[in-house]
């Protein structure tokens, strides 16, 4: 029950549901840190990945989320961004294109891993501004997908991923050291 298994497997096709997840307490948290450190090591080596073609453009709801973050997030989260977050919470997928009501567009794909990096960055940015832990939740889930599919990630994303994972770990450690129940 203490092994961190959520960052492995084919998560694009068989996403984690996280229902009734492992309960290992501190031992589980240690296992999570070890798992993330091994991903960091992988991306720091720069001996991986595919160069790929052009970067996949971010879908509109994600662009709205980014713009909202850049404005300092003073207004409520844009509706499309909030729906994207909900859609991701249910499917654990980020699609290359969405309809106006934020459903996957016809022929849209969910295997563009740079969009998961983008989502994790957005979530961390909002977390920093709001301290709302729901955004750390999004980041953890997006990074699980990136970790599981690390060998398919384009080499040019390495620095961004290293930063995302470092920030994610820092936030988790901060919570661990400061939260009181």
């Amino acid at each position: 029950m203490t092994e961190y298994t959520y960052g492995s497997g084919n998560l694009l096709e068989r996403p984690n549901t996280y229902f009734f997840s492992n309960s290992g307490g501190v031992a589980f948290l240690r296992s999570y840190i070890q798992s993330r450190l091994s991903v960091l090591e992988y991306f720091s080596s720069h001996l991986f990945g595919v160069d790929g073609g052009g970067r996949t453009p971010a879908p509109q709801p994600l662009i709205e989320w980014m713009n909202w973050n850049e404005d300092g997030a003073p207004a409520p989260m844009p509706e499309q961004a909030a729906l994207l977050m909900r859609r991701f919470a249910v499917t654990k997928r980020v699609w290359t294109e969405y309809t106006l009501d934020v459903r996957p567009a016809e022929a849209a794909r969910y295997d563009a891993l740079e969009l998961y990096v983008c989502l994790a960055e957005c979530a961390l940015h909002t977390l920093r501004q709001s301290s709302d832990l729901r955004f750390l939740n999004v980041c953890l889930q997006a990074v699980d997908v990136i970790a599981a599919h690390r060998s398919d990630v384009s080499a040019r994303e390495a620095d961004r991923i290293v930063e995302v994972i470092s920030l994610e770990i820092a936030n988790v450690m901060h919570l661990h050291l400061t939260s009181e129940l």
Partner: protein
């Protein structure tokens, strides 16, 4: 009242059966849906810390209680999903005054079922502050009290009218949070609702801005679990 337990045969269904066996003044029926397999779970002795902090009357073999309820109630089993036409037909055929919802995680009651009778749901979170999933953990992570709210389900998730809401003691490091604690505090609340008196319990709309929570990531969940205090035992 004619009360129907809409049961996925989950642990929650079993916990509710303990309560329904105590309220024999109601005419109880059961509609089971899905594959209707009772959970493979053994129930520890009442003194075991995994029950903390549930009251002694809830510390029983819930499977036996469910069997007891089935033996004394009309029971319909439908081997289909929650929102199937057959479940709706079975439910309406019983002409309930009140439906008590004990569904599986992730199931959402559709409009057709909601139209049959008021559907009572015990949500383990304060409303509207903690709507959605795994709200026991989200409440603890936010350093807020554990609250369970009895609501009538509506089309919006966890947005229905509130019957009552109660605070519950925080689980200990030895509590079975996902299992006994979650199902147990809901059952504890159901007991209070059914003790309110005859007739359909009154309700009021939710007030204030709501927040939606989704299934908590295991890292955040284990941050909570790692901070729970051990049970306090009196020294003899």
């Amino acid at each position: 009242m004619k009360v129907v337990l809409l049961s996925s045969c989950s642990l929650r269904s079993l916990a509710y059966s303990v309560v329904l066996n105590r309220h024999t003044d109601h005419e109880i029926s059961i509609v089971e849906y899905g594959d209707a397999h009772l959970p493979e779970k053994s129930f520890a002795e009442p003194e075991n810390e995994s029950w903390d902090p549930l009251p002694m009357w809830l510390r029983r073999n819930w499977r036996d209680c469910y069997d007891e309820l089935c033996a004394s109630s009309e029971r319909v089993s439908v081997d289909l999903e929650l929102n199937s036409e057959m479940v709706a037909r079975s439910l309406s055929g019983l002409q309930p005054d009140l439906v008590i919802y004990a569904g599986a995680a992730g199931n959402i009651v559709g409009r057709d079922l909601l139209a049959i009778a008021p559907v009572l749901h015990m949500h383990p979170g304060a409303l509207p502050a903690f709507r959605g999933s795994t709200t026991i953990y989200w409440s603890l992570l936010s350093q807020q009290p554990i609250v369970a709210s009895a609501i009538y389900l509506s089309a919006g998730i966890d947005q229905g009218r509130i019957v009552i809401a109660r605070n519950y003691p925080v689980p200990t490091s030895l509590s079975d949070v996902d299992g006994l604690y979650d199902a147990g505090i809901r059952a504890w609340l159901l007991d209070e609702v059914l003790s309110l008196g005859h007739g359909l319990p009154h309700s009021q709309p939710q007030e204030g801005e709501g927040k939606d929570y989704y299934v908590i990531h295991p890292v955040l969940k284990n941050l909570v679990l790692s901070r729970l205090s051990p049970p306090v035992r009196s020294v003899q």
